[in-house]
């Protein structure tokens, strides 16, 4: 097994949804989607965001887009306009999600670099 970042096999976008955020995670291919169905459990995501998300975590599946949508309740310090924290709209939660580390088989194909190619 090897340790990788979620961002090496998926991409994501987040935004606000009431007092919480949503994070849509898009798998790079069907094999990754099947892996994420197992690995990216509600418990795993709740643990990853333990200092950010203080409410329930919900998960929805979109097999058509190879996507999982997470709702992180109570993660914005009161939500949108009421919050006094910097990321009051959960704009950065997608980038936070992609930094999750996971174990995959040694031959599991990585799809994306975690940044621009170094010259």
């Amino acid at each position: 097994m090897k340790e990788i970042y979620l961002g090496e096999i998926a991409h994501a976008r987040s935004g606000d949804k009431g007092d919480g955020s949503n994070v849509g995670v898009l798998a790079g291919n069907r094999e990754v989607y099947d892996l994420l169905l197992e690995e990216l459990s509600i418990e795993r995501v709740r643990e990853h965001f333990s200092e950010i998300c203080h409410g329930a975590v919900e998960r929805f599946e979109l097999p058509n887009l190879l996507a999982l949508n997470f709702l992180l309740h109570d993660s914005l310090g009161g939500g949108g306009t009421e919050s006094i924290i910097t990321d009051a709209q959960g704009k950065t939660h997608a980038q936070a999600m992609l930094q999750m580390k996971m174990q995959v088989p040694d031959d599991f194909e990585l799809l994306y670099p975690m940044g621009p190619p170094k010259s």
Binding site: D19, G78, T81, I85, T86, G115
Partner: protein, 452 residues
Amino acid sequence: MKERLRIGNGQGFWGDSVQTPIRMLREGPLDYLTMDYLAEVTMSILQKQKNRDAARGYATDFVRFIDEVLPEIIEKKVRIIANAGGVNTEACRGRIFDAARKRGLSKLKIGTVSGDDILGRLDELKAAGVEFRHMDTGEGLFDEEREILAANVYLPTEGMVRALDEGADIVVTGRCTDPGLVLAPLMHEYGWSTPDQLALGTVAGHILECGAQSTGGNFTRWWEVPDMAHIGYPIAEVGPEGELIITKHEGTGGMVTVDTVAEQLVYEMGNPKQFLTPDCVVDFTSIKLAQDGPDRVRVSGVRGDVRTPYLKVSISYLAGYKATGQIVLSGPNALEKARLCASAVWERLEMVGCRFEDRQEEFLGIGQVHRGIVGPVENAPEVVLRLGVKDSSREMVNRFGMEIAPLVTSGPPGVTGFAGGRPKAQEIVAYWPALIPRELIKAEVSVEEVGA
């Protein structure tokens, strides 16, 4: 009937690039240009402006834009649909008519759609038994005394369609759904009315509504996005039978790929099977995306269901005051110095009797927004200390604002970056989402031609 329509978005929110709608008109062919100005917070700001001055309460950026491009709109026959009317569609139309008269134009027709603003009807609706129960908490709006700032219903798209049917060149609406701005021309031109058709138009609108977020903006692999500075905004190319291609003007920056479009599809999503609008219910798990050439993504398979008997109301009310202030700590032990500054501020405030309903301290630069996932970086060479408070007392929140600057001389060394004066208390505008039976709301549509 047109074989295909090109509908663009030139504004994802009020505050988005003012140059983009102009570029959208000039950089390629377009049949309709849609523009979104109304966030929830915008409605309460506009309502306040109107309370002070009955001639205000609409998006002034929009009027400036129209004033600048009016001859081009008419020459190119591009129809404009914008929710720039805010809480004063009539005043917005009046200013556009002024601009048209100034140029001696007399053929311009402007449609307004209103009836969304129910602030003045709350007593009547309360008497009729509407409780405005909070969609998340279930509380009734009138259970407690509240200072309500604005109340607007998300109107169904029919109102905009009627304005287009009556020949409006420009449609100025109050609160509607963002996707409705794109759905309206499809209903008008193609007579779309089945749940699947309405759902397809809604999906097109959802992909377009945040401007460049579907054309490479906010994209995870940002380094793959060409010419970000000149990013093109999204265009939906739609045929009458439901062919939908997402694209952008040729030669502009950015990119339209399955991945950039998919990221926008999941943006601000709740339950994907139940995407509710006043027009239909969309099942996002039905959407199929496929690359159809460079910067062209085909959207198909979209399924929808009939609309619910309710409309959503967005009510805003005053929920106290807030302020935030920040300074920069530099040099050795920057984080430790920042922590000392934070505790000194709180202690100094407590000495004068200031305790707040909520207070926050953030140490930006050490892994703050991703706390628990990265960092904290203990040896950061500089740290931004950001403090915030929330309270029902405006006076106390203002008192907080006076305790930031003194740190420059009465704190540790290496403090800088305090600029812009004392942070002032800002009103907290809170939201109260609720539902209202559809039959209680009637959109008012009026189309008028500019007089001489």
